[in-house]
């Protein structure tokens, strides 16, 4: 049976990195290549030994697809392509291609420079890896090779995030990556057409969450900023150069305007140029409405937000500052943090995940005494807050997506099977499809029912229709022919034609059966008895009595001879060709029953 095989790579039951191997119609595709942010050793990389045992990766894998720039989806890519070794194509959307290397470089700097790790990819490796990347547009069908094609769909979530459809022959798989189904101010909701893939692969972690609305999370952010500023404190918001900074600025700007607030908001330099680049990417990627909002405000010409100068950090009074880098691991944001950390009126709001080893990670874990350079201890009295603005799908969203795509099977990764029985039942009940939940390292096989197109020869078609019954769309009709599979094409032809093409002679098979009949009369009288009997019983068939003394029923021949030893017994020879097998055996059993006395 044709099948699709899916193996989530990685050790154990842990969540935290995405890397899925899919085998479809003889093609092998790797979906995402993420780093597990919780580990410091090799456990942070997916377990590639599962694939490498098959030989060279480039020969085995047809392509690698990256859904978006988050490190738990692309963090292991340079390691995979440059250190493990893969030279094939890597597909991702344009914004992902632009942003990935920046995040990877940042991550590399922290891991190598700050933590002194050695078994890690270099800057050059990141560059070499990105050279293998082929950028794709939304809804563009990309031919990976003659049989394999992929298409990206809008996923929402972050800039450039996409869901991918992978098609080989007439089997297809859709991989969602991270997505969200509720549109917000800046990102629309994920969308896919009714592509009816054989399999839809998604994360199970969302399915059990009911998310607080984006608005309420924004509200929480504004409240925290407002309260700090109201009591005269300073708010530090470390941001990535490319990311939510823009969104948060607009949010604050609107709020400041509405509430007529006077405290200054600053945006550190260095952010501006990179942010411009991000802005341009964003505009082409997003929809009309969002484009308008951004075009109206000419990038960083905010009324209330000004460029930062490092001297301002010492100014008295409340203020809000956006500064890079986002994990407080170096640079301006760390400098400002050191100045403000000692005052409990101040607040730092971490807007995203922080890698282990960074100051951001330490303070989020609750550490309040930090060792800085030169053995200096920094006491953190300022309030530490964490804000997650990532848009993810949830229980309701997963059902919506399944409804849109109409897959024949669903596969959820990263869940504990025991704890997912309800979700499995929910999906199976509502959509009548199978729901699979493999553990990491476990391969799931999904059987598909692909349609295989077959050409039928005109001769065969004519012959079948000539037999009589017209084709009825609702009743299957049995047809006899020969299936020829040659050069990836399938043809149905008549047996004679097939033999001709193969250069073989057709053999004729003829069966003869002897039926003994008790009849003392002469042969020709027996023949007459048989003829009358058959004529009476087989009214729909052509029964003939030929001048030479034989009987034909259609093309079946019946002759009678006397038994060599016993004059009272007559031997009927019933002879038919292979094609008339059915009628032949019917006649034989009929005659074996004997002739009626009256004739």
């Amino acid at each position: 049976m044709p099948e699709i095989k899916v193996t989530p790579l990685g050790a154990g039951q842990d969540v935290g990195r995405s890397c899925i191997l899919v085998s479809i119609a003889g093609k092998n595709v790797m979906l995402d290549c993420g780093m597990h942010m919780g580990y410091n050793d090799d456990r942070r990389f997916p377990d590639f030994s599962y694939i490498t045992q098959n030989g060279r990766l480039t020969d085995f894998l047809d392509c690698v697809i990256i859904s978006h720039f988050h490190l738990d989806h692309c963090g292991a890519l340079p390691y995979f392509s440059e250190m493990v070794g893969y030279d094939g194509p890597i597909y991702m959307t344009h914004p992902t291609k632009a942003i990935c290397p920046i995040l990877l470089e940042d991550y590399r700097k922290i891991t190598v420079d700050k933590k002194g790790e050695t078994n890690f990819f270099t800057s050059q490796m990141i560059k070499d890896c990105m050279k293998k990347v082929v950028a794709v547009h939304l809804h563009q069908t990309v031919q990976v090779d003659e049989e394999l094609e992929i298409k990206a769909y809008y996923a929402g979530h972050v800039l450039g995030a996409a869901m991918f459809q992978i098609k080989a022959g007439c089997e297809s798989v859709v991989y969602t990556g991270d997505y969200n189904m509720t549109p917000d101010r800046h990102l629309g909701a994920a969308w896919i057409d009714k592509c009816r893939p054989d399999l839809l692969i998604s994360e199970s972690t969302y399915a059990t969450t009911i998310r607080d609305s984006k608005r309420c999370r924004e509200r929480d952010f504004l409240k925290k900023v407002h309260e700090t500023v109201e009591r005269g404190g300073k708010v530090l918001i470390p941001v990535f150069a490319l990311g939510r900074a823009q969104e948060l600025c607009i949010l604050l700007e609107t709020f400041w305007e509405r509430m007529n607030l006077k405290a200054p908001i600053y945006f550190s330099t260095g952010l501006t140029e990179k942010a411009n680049h991000y802005y341009k990417l964003f505009i082409t990627w997003t929809n009309q409405k969002i484009r308008k909002t951004f075009v109206q405000r000419n990038m960083f010409e905010f009324k209330h937000i000004k460029a930062f100068d490092r001297a301002f950090a010492d100014n008295p009074g409340p203020m809000v500052v956006f500064a890079t880098p986002g994990m407080l691991h170096a640079g301006q944001s760390l400098q400002i943090f050191r100045k403000w950390a000692g005052n409990e009126k101040n607040m730092v709001i971490m807007p995203g995940y922080c890698v282990q080893g960074t100051v951001g990670h330490k303070i989020l874990s609750g550490q309040r005494k930090l060792e800085m350079e030169g053995r200096q201890i920094l006491e953190v009295k300022m309030q530490v807050e964490y804000m997650s603005f990532s848009a993810h799908a949830d229980a309701k969203g997963i059902m919506q997506l399944i409804r849109q795509a109409e897959p024949r099977n669903v596969l959820l990764v990263h869940g504990e099977a025991k704890k997912m029985e309800f979700l499995k039942q929910k999906i199976e009940q509502e959509f009548h499809v199978n729901c699979y939940m493999p553990a990491n390292g476990e391969t799931t096989t999904i059987f598909t029912n692909p349609s295989i197109p077959v050409d039928i020869s005109l001769g065969l078609l004519k012959r079948e229709t000539a037999i009589g019954l017209l084709p009825d769309a609702k009743k299957p009709k049995l047809m006899h022919g020969t299936l020829i599979m040659k050069d990836n094409s399938f043809r149905l032809v008549s047996p004679e034609q097939a033999l001709k093409e193969l250069g073989l002679t057709e053999h004729q098979l003829r069966f003869t059966c002897r039926v003994h009949i008790q009849d003392p009369r002469k042969e020709h009288e027996t023949v007459l008895r048989v003829y009358n009997h058959l004529k009476g019983v087989l009214k729909d068939y052509s029964v003939q009595h030929l001048p030479d003394g034989s009987i034909t029923v259609e093309s079946i021949l019946i002759q009678a001879t006397a038994h060599s030893e016993d004059q009272g017994t007559k031997v009927l020879l019933v002879s038919w060709t292979y094609q008339d097998e059915e009628l032949g055996s019917y006649l034989t059993s009929l005659l074996k029953k004997g002739l009626p006395q009256s004739t």
Binding site: P183, G188, R219, N287, L364, V384
Partner: protein, 385 residues
């Protein structure tokens, strides 16, 4: 990929900015299907369930976000989401759901008859809420759905009935009947409650209250009409749960009518009104189906009212003058009118609300558009209470 229309978004933004000063905390969620029950279960879990007419309604047991845990928020609570811990499927709509105290059982009721369904939740082993049994009722077909109350004093009991003459107490595990009320009155019930392990309080939809003693099943129930109850209105009740150990009958019963009248009466003398007021609400649209009134467990003298529109009102009864005139609510939660999926169904109607058992000003409310809100409002004039 289109977002919400511009005008709507502005209204929502406006409300959000206002909400900064109105609420200490605010969460808004969207359930896949609307619920008309929000019940607290074992381990601070919250249960909700669908009430749609088609089969396959979900019963969900949710783990609330850490911000709702009883401890004071520690300043670092990134998680603001509910987690679905367990779920089950009901082939009938769920109109009422109660957790059986000290057990891992839930009891539900709903049309088309007055029977009850019992469910088992075993969160450690699996995430499926299994249907374990049904408690049928005599002549139950065609009767309105049963109102339920549960208690685990002598044994896990469920008090149920749809009419005054069908009130009974059934032992949940054995399904044995332990009490049947003696009444020939077929008045429809709108609510029932255990005041303590021996005393029952029943509320008829037409506005009558009945006290019953479980130890005296033979004495007929006497229904006393609420003082000055206008005719033609539907009534429901809210029974206070004082601090543990206190006499439940010391707290007044609040009764709410579909016309917006609120009456407080002493449980022992239901014919006398202790206080009365009128809520500032328009008449409910859907015929008083979702009327709900409840006392705050941790805020003295406060009760919440909902079911008239998309709002939840909180009143401080100590400010009432007893004249029955319109009272000023202490707080009005308007969130359900904003930010929902919107669309053709019109403005949503709040189907149910409940108080957080420990946090004094935190409530949960659900509406007909599937929204579920958790809000902690700010006391406007700074008086504790």
């Amino acid at each position: 990929m289109e977002a919400v229309g511009a005008g709507e978004e502005e209204d929502e933004d406006e409300w959000l900015v206002q909400s900064l000063s109105l609420y200490k905390d605010l969460h808004t969620f969207e359930l896949q299907a609307p619920t008309r029950v929000i019940e607290w279960a074992r381990g601070s879990r919250v249960c909700v369930a669908g009430y749609g007419q088609s089969g396959g309604q979900e019963i969900l047991q949710l783990v609330p976000p850490p911000t709702l845990q009883a401890k004071e928020t520690q300043g670092l609570c990134p998680e603001r989401d509910f987690k679905v811990e367990c779920g089950g499927f009901s082939n009938r709509p769920v109109y009422s759901l109660k957790h059986v105290p000290d057990t891992s059982l839930l009891v539900t009721s709903g049309p088309p008859d007055s029977s009850l369904q019992v469910w088992q939740v075993s969160a450690e082993d699996s995430d499926v809420i299994k249907s374990v049994s049904a408690i049928p009722t005599e002549n139950g077909t065609g009767q309105p759905w049963a109102k339920i109350a549960t208690i685990s004093a002598r044994a896990p009991w469920v008090l149920h009935g749809s009419r005054l003459n069908s009130v009974q107490i059934t032992e949940v595990e054995s399904r044995k009947n332990v009490y049947t009320a003696a009444s020939r009155n077929s008045e429809e019930l709108s609510g029932l409650a255990f005041l303590d392990c021996n005393t029952l309080l029943l509320c008829c939809a037409k506005g009558q209250l009945c006290l019953a003693d479980v130890r005296q099943p033979q004495s007929p129930l006497e229904a006393a009409s609420l003082p000055s109850a206008p005719c033609g209105e539907r009534w429901c009740m809210g029974v206070g749960r004082g601090p543990p150990g206190s006499d439940s009958s010391s707290q007044p019963v609040a009764c709410l009518s579909s016309g917006g009248h609120l009456t407080l009466t002493d449980v022992r003398k239901t014919s006398e009104s202790l206080a009365a007021a009128k809520c500032r609400v328009s008449s409910p649209r859907s015929g008083a189906e979702f009327l709900c009134v409840s006392w705050a467990p941790a805020l003295e003298g406060c009760l919440a009212v909902s079911g008239f529109d998309g709002t939840v009102h909180v009143y401080d009864v100590r400010r009432w003058d007893g004249s029955g005139r319109e009272a000023e609510p202490l707080f009005v939660h308007k969130g359900h009118a904003f930010g929902g999926p919107g669309g053709s169904a019109g403005p949503p109607l709040v189907t149910v609300h409940t108080w957080h058992p420990q946090k004094p000003r935190t409530l949960l409310s659900a509406a007909s558009d599937g929204s579920l809100h958790v809000w902690d409002w700010v006391q406007p004039c700074g008086k504790c209470g």
